[in-house]
Amino acid sequence: MTVQFAARLIIFASILTTLAACPVPLPRGDTWESRQNIGDKVPDFIVPGKTARTDVLLALGEPDVTSENGMQFTYTRITSEGGVLFVMAAGGGAAGAGSETMTYRHLVILFDEAGVVTSARNERVSCSETLFGAGNSSYRSPPCSKPP
């Protein structure tokens, strides 16, 4: 009975909080720290067996992740698809919580010993990240997708 009461109380408090908070829409677009020069497809100039690592670097720039032996490059573009942040202000302070849908585009390129592309693939992952903030502190869940 006590557990049921506590559960109801939590649900009721959550509903009240949601109703009392101001929903703030989060903007769409590439995140402030993301690169933008990666699309949904493997670029046409990358041809396995022909394209050299040098050509990839000259066309796309530094990869975001390089394997230790330099035989795998990963380029990642992070885009927000929007979300909502519920903000509550009371007594001179403010707190907020919300969720944001993210799209991660990972372009993974593998090279052989001679530095020629052996394979290239594009992985697109959509997932959600949570945000929470109160006073001067804030929290964001870790990236919901990591480079393969």
Binding site: S34, R35, Q36, L57, L58, A59, G61, E62, T66
Partner: protein, 111 residues
């Protein structure tokens, strides 16, 4: 007319102060990359003029520098974990003798 002018003098001064506070001088240089010539420039010259690269590949055959752009031109940006404040990647390829053979300026984020 004079009292009205006096009345406006203070707000005008504050307005000018606010404008000055917001103004930033462009610090970019238009000539930052003009010394780069394929077949001519040497790696040592690049290090001397641009400093430590943000990344190196294939030994130090390929160097990468990060750049930002403002009204004045390009500005070098140091190595960091993400692309915040970066607009371009300067990629430089050298031959075995350390002579620049190819280079490109890749737009990573739109300025």
């Amino acid at each position: 007319m004079r009292p009205i002018f006096d009345f406006l003098r203070k707000p005008f001064a504050i307005f000018c102060l606010v404008l000055t506070a917001c103004a930033t001088e462009p610090v970019g240089r238009k000539d930052l990359l003009t010394f780069l010539n394929d077949g001519v420039s040497r790696r040592e010259e690049v290090f001397l003029k641009l400093g430590e690269p943000s990344a190196q590949y294939e030994g130090s055959r390929i160097l990468a520098y990060r750049l930002r752009k403002d009204a004045g031109g390009h500005i070098l940006v140091g190595r960091r974990d993400n692309w915040a404040g970066v607009h371009y990647n300067l990629m430089l390829v050298f031959d075995a003798d350390g002579v620049l053979i190819r280079h490109s300026v890749v737009e990573v984020r739109s300025p």
